[in-house]
């Protein structure tokens, strides 16, 4: 399993559109991606659960990637976060 931390820069936080696009991105990989905020976590492919975390600008989230292609997947997700959130 690979994990990394990311600080949200988008001023609304993890809002609907990028959350949806993140889910789409994750589906391109075999690995499962989980977003953790505090004591709550959600699968990155689940839009409503992800928004339900209520992640705001400035919050730090932990991203957990687990699966056969976790190296490439983690890199791609980090790149996606940098560009969109």
């Amino acid at each position: 399993m690979k994990t990394f931390e990311y600080v949200i820069k988008d001023e609304v936080g993890i809002h609907a559109r990028p959350a949806g696009l993140l889910g789409k991105k994750c589906k391109e990989f075999a690995s499962t991606v989980t977003i953790v905020k505090g004591d709550k976590e959600a699968a990155a492919t689940k839009l409503m659960a992800l928004m339900g975390l209520g992640v705001k600008c400035g919050d730090t989230v932990t991203v957990k990637v687990e699966g056969d292609d976790e190296e490439t997947c983690a890199a791609a997700i980090e790149e996606f976060l940098q560009a969109n959130l």
Partner: protein, 544 residues
């Protein structure tokens, strides 16, 4: 007649019959079922249909209101596809053996509640999106699409609140206006309505819906946010006139936009706009002004608690110049004192402030303030076509002093290698009788004159602008004023300078022909008067 008040989100007046918005997905009843398989299939089919509808709405919105506002429908598609949402619907059908509509309705309630309970307003507002997609799904289950009763008459659509998809789905040809009991002026509905140029009033309150019926006559005033239900004849006449005026104005705008300011016999004149803040640039463009003839720089000083820095001023001037590419923008240097007071300047209280330390007199007394503004102006000059104008001139020596200060500011910039444009025009306001009378001496020193008729009138006729009791004695078209303007125009032209008028008189269309005959080169008026004056110019024939 009953009047309701809300927030108008698009300025226009609509008069017509009320149509109360009806949602097809009204009451959902719980029905026990035996064939879970076919119920699950119904959900899948309805979902496919709903996504297809949303895709069509997205395409329509993309065309009507642009990508940013259309994005919400893309999100709706993603939400409909959400795993947890779909799992919840399936679970309820399977464990409770109930109909699909009921399962969707319960799921919608749970998810909406989750969002509504969050502590951030953005996420709270998503509850409305959940309800919107769920209602669509339920409508698709009961084989209907979403939509309003079809009637041939245009109507004022009234609802508790309209979901974005509902607003976009309505046939625009049949909507006169929107009125909603709830909602905010930043809601998607308000934004969409604004983009669709439909008058809309948001948040008129719960009482409204209880008291209206389909077919009631109503007037919607998007300017004031008022809704008049069952209007009395007097109100109806008043608002009809307002509507006609607004339509005529918008029609004039459409007809005259992009047209030249030219008389029947071919004489041209520039029509510029007067503005007092960066925020007004939009109206300069919307009203098709040829440039800005008077940009009052006072707002920079009035909005601040302390002297605005060179950097602050530079940013503001740069923004104006960059927003109006290719257009001349004439910025008037600080004009405070008299009726415009700023606390931190600590000006002495004067017996007669209109004739006191104001405008250029402050700048020449406290040159540090003046130089800061000039440096900011010159630095910004590389971003557009800048003109600088000095107010309250009465003598040749003042203009000489001003030009010396300008030269020294430019020399300083040059030494520091800071770029500025060599093509900045310098002009003075003709707003004292003295300046008009010696305009032959002033003209060779400047590129242009701009006549400030408000002060020129006050000083020439000895009539205080602030005293309403004097009004009967003020003849704004007094021959003395017109002669001073004519004298200034002749002197300007004799020395190769141009002349404009930036006071209120410039917008007086009964004088447009007089000004054209004097050879005035430019009229600068409030943005909303630009097209009215253009219309007058185009009707004038100087050969007759």
């Amino acid at each position: 007649m009953i009047i309701y008040n809300g927030k108008g989100v698009y300025g226009a007046v609509a008069i017509g019959r009320i149509s109360v918005y009806k949602r097809q997905a009204a009451a959902v009843t719980r029905i026990e079922i035996t064939d879970k398989g076919s119920e699950l299939k119904r959900v899948e089919d309805a979902k496919a249909k709903a996504i297809e509808q949303l895709q069509a709405i997205y395409d329509k919105a993309l065309k009507d209101v642009g990508e940013d506002n259309a994005a919400i429908f893309e999100v709706h598609i993603m939400m409909l596809d959400d795993e947890d949402y779909n799992d919840s619907i399936r679970n309820i059908i399977e464990t409770e053996s109930v109909n699909a509509e009921y399962a969707v309705s319960v799921t919608a309630g749970n998810f909406a509640e989750m969002f509504a309970a969050m502590d951030d307003s953005y996420f709270q507002a998503r509850a409305a999106d959940i309800k919107d997609i769920s209602n669509r799904l339920i409508a698709c289950l009961s084989d209907g699409g979403a939509g309003q009763d079809t009637s041939d008459e245009k109507a004022i659509i009234c609802a508790d609140d309209l979901a974005p998809s509902e607003t976009v789905s309505l046939d625009k040809e049949k909507v006169l206006a929107f009125v909603t009991a709830f909602g905010s002026s930043n809601s998607h509905t308000a934004i969409l309505a604004r983009n669709m140029n439909i008058p809309a009033i948001i948040g008129v309150g719960e009482e409204f819906l209880k008291n209206i019926n389909d077919g009631d006559l109503a007037i919607v005033d998007g300017f004031t946010g008022e809704v008049f239900v069952d209007p009395d004849p007097e109100t109806l006449a008043k608002l009809t006139a307002k509507q006609e005026e607004d339509i005529a104005k918008k029609k004039l705008l459409q007809e005259l936009k992009g047209k030249e300011n030219v008389t029947v016999d071919g004489k041209k004149i520039k029509i510029y706009a007067n503005i007092g803040s960066v925020d007004n640039i939009g109206s300069v463009i919307a009203n098709d002004a040829g440039g800005v003839g008077l940009f009052r720089s006072e707002f920079l000083y009035l909005e601040n608690d302390d002297y605005p820095t060179e950097e602050q001023q530079f940013e503001a001037y740069k923004k104006v110049l960059e927003s109006l590419p290719g257009k001349q923008v004439i910025i008037r240097t600080l004009d405070i004192g008299a009726d415009k007071q700023v606390g931190y300047f600590n000006l002495d209280k004067e017996e007669n402030p209109a004739m006191g330390i104001r405008a250029i007199r402050i700048c020449l007394t406290r040159q540090d303030i003046f130089k800061t503004q000039l440096r900011a102006l010159y630095r910004a000059s590389v971003y557009g076509n800048l003109g600088i104008m000095f107010p309250m001139i009465t003598s040749v020596s003042e203009v000489k002093k001003i030009m010396e200060i300008c030269d020294s500011v430019r020399a300083d910039l040059k030494v520091s290698d800071i770029p500025f444009s060599e093509n900045v025009e310098h002009g003075i306001m003709i707003e004292t009788p003295a300046a008009a009378v010696i305009s032959d001496l002033l003209a060779p020193m400047v590129d242009f004159f701009s006549v400030g008729t408000n002060d020129l009138t006050q000083y020439t006729l000895a009539c205080d602008r602030q005293n309403p009791k004097i009004e009967p004695f003020v003849d704004i078209r007094h021959e003395a004023i017109l002669r001073l303007i004519k004298m200034s125009a002749d002197n300007a032209h004799a020395h190769g300078a141009w002349i404009g008028i930036c006071g209120e008189l410039a917008a007086d269309t009964s004088l447009t022909e007089t000004f054209l005959r004097m050879g005035i080169d430019e009229l600068s008026v409030s943005p909303s008067f630009v097209l009215k004056v253009r219309d007058q110019v185009r009707k004038t024939d100087l050969s007759k």
